[in-house]
Amino acid sequence: MSDYNMSHLDELEAEGIYVMREVAAQFERPAILFSGGKDSICVTHLARKAFAPARIPMPLVHIDTGHNFPETMQFRDDLVAELGVQLIVGSVQELIDRGEVTEEKGFNASRNRIQTPTLINTIEQHQFDACCGGARRDEEKARAKERFFSHRDDFSQWDPKNQRPELWDLYNGKHQPGEHFRVFPLNNWTELDIWNYILRENIAIPSLYFAHEREVVRRDGQILAHSEYLNLRPDEKVEKLQVRFRTLGDLTITGAVESDADTLEKIIGEVAAARKTERGGRMDDKRSQSAMEDRKKEGYF
């Protein structure tokens, strides 16, 4: 019997591959939402394995806030070239320029919130009926409630009080015109699973995840990367620290952690011993108790 054992990571991978194939089989215009972060890199890796030796039969969609780490953009372009898939960019800046969204002002200004209309706009424009994302249930309490196939109405809204039942692995992707699904192949993965998988599969990730020296600003107990997009308060000063990022979002909201973990093994050691969740470093979640739920209802990733 022991010949037929699968490791925990093998099981998660098999589930993820199954989900990606279900998406390709059930939907007409699916896409992968690609942020350049480790989770969407893992989704893309699963897709690569799911359809090998063919190319991934769906485009990567990047919602570009314009406030990106340059490393992430380079990484994205290299990956797209390597995979030979189409890249579709939804630009927040374009929506701002067209006056469809208004940018936040002030010291904590971020483009996080206006990513949502940009995403919805991109989905409508390309008529995507399924968007695969890298969200995981262990990340946040509203995400802990997610289905694998998560239904969105024709305003892209999530109704957490009235989700569809989801039985076994019989995912029902049927929907009315204009509606779509968000699909989460990594639902059952934890942060540690992701890192162990990246190590096992030798998956390339942006250098930002590894400890490096960087100019940063301390704000409200967080360490933010210094950049032209961050408005400094008078009393704030820029310092140089050895840091790494646990998640990659918009430059202005992603907190770094002080760390000297410069290899995957060291990162895994750090994550295993961590006493805070990875999103503990994100300003966007800290705005209120239900910040994530509210954004998700509106159509956020």
Partner: protein, 416 residues
């Protein structure tokens, strides 16, 4: 001995303490992160609760916190040095039974909570029956809120006896009882000092050690074709691979297989996971197979062995749990989703409906409404390839989808 992953669900009536128990389990096993604890302490203070309300760890939606109930299943992941766990914290409220069904369909073990003051309620029965229906073989009945009945052994035994007589009519091979206080932590992670009359394990101890026989079927080869891979690149233009998840049995390179429904025979020429070639495939692996002959094979078809084939039938004898707020209208056409196959289907006959409290059959009122469990006969427009659910969960289960609303309206299991 190292135990594999355990997936379990908490079930039972509303307010019996399921979410509090999960919070307690995570808290006392020190698997809560600092910022999560800070966040629920802050929310508890705002609401005027003494100390941290541990149910807020899973009751994360705004509406749940407002009403103090669970609405949808929350999944939590935790590990002790002995085992990894996936917890599904289900809602007790009858209105959200379908969410409990969602959580139970992937669980190996169910924890049924009972409030020591209230005893067994209708939802206790319903959740127990659904767990049994969905093939959960391990159950832990936690008699909770023992603090409110003065840790009384007599009251505990009374509830245990009542539950035993109820459950004797379900075949659940492994049932265990534990008196606890989720609120105060007795017998959850740490042994209670106030119930020295109980000498069994604590809940966590039991969960760490319970042996869950893998739910996989390694005997009957079943490979539902999920997706056909046809690269459009020059290098692989002739490649045609059949992708899917093994639903039963072990497939090896070189095996003779039969494609259903066509009945054509061929051989497995390669098996791969990603671009890595492997010698064999077994459940629940997701693989790609190539075959020796160019046969007609597409999504919804199945590869099996010549001498071990599923039932191919248009008439199904099934137990369903009705999930929709709209009652079932006789004669309605549904889409039946089974493995990767879809077929038009109609419910020909309701044989009986179940009285959830007595487990008696109701044969005079056959109207099926939300949360009803019934035995039905279904006719499909094309044959589907089924096994008995008790032998194979993947090939013995289906859902019914309403062709108008496109919603999943029923979960079904097939008995052959």
């Amino acid at each position: 001995m190292e135990q594999g992953l355990l997936r379990f669900i908490t079930a039972g009536s509303v307010d019996d303490g399921k979410s509090t128990l999960i919070g307690r389990l995570l808290y006392d096993s020190k698997t809560i992160f600092e910022d999560q604890l800070e966040s629920i302490e802050q929310a508890s203070t705002q609401r005027g609760t003494d100390g941290a309300d541990l149910s807020l760890l899973t009751d994360g939606l705004r509406a749940e916190r407002e009403q103090g109930i669970t609405i949808d299943v929350a999944y939590r992941y935790f590990a002790t040095p002995k085992r990894k766990f996936i917890i599904a914290d289900a809602p007790g409220h009858i209105q959200y039974t379908r969410n409990m069904v969602t959580g139970a369909s992937t669980a190996d073990l169910a924890i049924i909570l009972i409030d020591a003051r209230a005893g067994l309620l209708e939802q206790t029965h319903r959740h127990s029956f659904i767990s049994h229906l969905l093939g959960i073989k391990h159950m832990v009945v936690c008699v909770n809120k023992m603090d409110l009945v003065e840790w009384d052994e007599g009251r505990y035994n009374e509830i245990v006896d009542t539950y035993r007589s109820f459950s004797s009519r379900l075949d659940i091979p492994d049932i265990r009882f534990i008196p606890i206080s989720a609120l105060q932590g007795d017998n959850v992670v740490d042994r209670s000092e106030r119930m020295d009359w109980y000498d069994g394990p604590t809940l966590l101890n039991h969960l760490e050690h319970v042996h869950v026989a893998a739910d996989r079927n390694l005997q009957d080869c079943r490979f539902p074709v999920q997706y056909v891979i046809r690269p459009q690149t020059d290098a692989d233009r002739d490649f045609r691979g059949y992708a899917g998840r093994v639903a039963g049995g072990v497939f090896k390179v070189g095996d003779e297989v039969v494609a259903l429904p066509s009945g054509l025979s061929t051989t497995v020429t390669s098996i791969a996971i990603g671009d890595k070639k492997v010698d064999m495939a077994f459940p629940p692996q997701s693989v790609v197979m190539t075959l020796g002959d160019d046969i007609d094979l597409s999504r919804g078809d199945m590869l099996v062995r010549e001498n071990n084939q599923p039932n191919s039938s248009q008439d199904l004898d099934a137990r369903i749990c009705w999930l929709s707020e709209q009652p079932m209208r006789p004669g309605t056409r549904f889409e039946l989703h089974h493995t990767s196959r879809e077929a038009k289907a109609v419910v020909k006959e309701v044989v009986y409906k179940l009285d959830i409290n007595t487990l008696h059959r109701i044969e005079d009122d056959l109207e099926i409404g939300m949360n009803d469990i019934a035995r039905v006969r279904i006719r499909t427009a094309a044959p589907i390839l089924v096994d008995d659910y008790r032998r194979n969960r993947a090939t013995g289960s289906f859902i019914l989808v309403d062709p108008g609303t496109r919603l999943t309206v029923a979960a079904g299991v097939i008995y052959t």
